[in-house]
Symmetry: C2
Subunit: 238 residues, 2 copies
């Protein structure tokens, strides 16, 4: 039974560290959470299996996996056969990373908006971060504001004067270590979350891609061991 | 071989009357056209088969059918088992029609943007019309402008200063009869186009849904017989 006293929110939820923290925040803030994951041609299913388990354990009202195969458009190492870069020096990396998927957040937010409109949910949560991934154009606050403005014009609510959709980005100004601290305070079990761009089939992280490097550094800054499994041979960059 | 001297455009193309005219306009204006159709849970495949034939005949560089199953979100008679309304008095109809699909144009434009970014195409064409379908929030000029603004921030071009994407809506202020006149002047073969919301499996139109009524009226205002096939029993509203 949906809880009618709670506002509904669609939460973009990949099962990674950021969006799992995001889901915990949405639930803690009192939203009835509808978690939305995508099968978009990513290399591995481990992330989606983790998302399923986590959404249930954390008390999301629903969890849905939507198929949208961005592979067919190409343009990213995440949705192609190209190798994921390993051991990059992130402090020196500039520009848009090869892991950028063209218009991905626009597509994901548009689909979240479609579900939100059907649910009559006035809230969408997305775990974008403007600091660690500053190379991604669709993680910037000005993009999110422009999407929200567009979304209010796109929907019935924009015509009929109902509650207008709001895009929530509680992680946008947090560093990875701060996100982890916030999640731990909310009881997030990070052993279940998959962040790696190139994990083994069972979800063990490579330890060397950009996402692994950022994640490990975030745990180190909190002086905590990352509880997620890494592959035995991982050449950990410290 | 792509023609390097022509600017590339992604054209949202359903195989219906409006978007077929749109494709003809884009090609006539000198764009190298990449036609994009969607299998989004519509009731019939006739539209997609027609789109395939038309795109080839008209000289689109590529035609692609992208799967995005909006049925799973619900919210529209077009993607459900609910009956399509027939014989509505459109002059008296007010508000948002039951054929509205939540956030559909936002989702379609987002996917067009993903393909455009991969192709390095700076142009997207969409056949929205603010007059005949004034009940749809995502056909209004202010929605299109807001989408364009968002799209420029969403993409690599918005960061790297490359050509910024432009959304073209050449039909937005035309009445149906004017769209048909324009298409005929460009040599569009309307016998191939499917507009009906509820056609027979081979594509014969019902003659009574909102889309059929608008289309027939458009041909009548031009004193031309609609060359598209209608089902024998169609109770034509005149």
């Amino acid at each position: 039974m949906p809880n009618l006293s709670k506002p509904r929110a669609v939460v973009l939820f990949s099962g990674g560290l950021d969006s799992t923290t995001l889901l915990a925040i949405a639930i803690q803030e009192g939203y009835d959470a509808y978690a939305l994951s995508f099968r978009y041609g990513q290399r591995h299913e481990a992330e989606l299996r983790a998302a399923e388990r986590l959404a249930r354990a954390m008390g999301a009202r629903q969890h849905r996996v939507f198929e949208v195969d961005l592979r067919s458009f190409g343009g990213s190492v995440l949705t192609s056969e190209l190798p994921v870069p390993k051991g990059r020096d992130l402090s020196a990396a500039a520009g848009i990373p090869p892991t950028y998927v063209p218009a991905r957040n626009t597509v994901f937010l548009a689909l979240a908006l479609a579900w939100a409109e059907t649910l009559e949910a006035g809230h969408i949560f997305i775990g974008v971060n403007a600091l660690d991934y500053s190379g991604y154009p669709d993680c910037r606050p000005e993009f999110i504001e422009a999407f929200e403005r567009m979304a209010r014009l796109a929907t019935k609510a924009g015509v009929e004067g109902a509650e207008r959709v709001r895009i929530h980005t509680p992680l946008i100004n947090l560093r990875k270590a701060e996100i982890i601290r916030k999640g731990l305070a909310l009881g997030v079990d990070y052993s279940q979350t998959v962040s790696c761009y190139d994990p083994l089939p069972e979800g063990e992280a490579c330890g060397e891609c950009d996402a692994c490097q950022l994640r490990r550094r975030g745990f180190e800054e909190n002086s905590i061991e990352d509880p997620a499994p890494y592959r035995a041979s991982a050449n950990i960059v410290r």
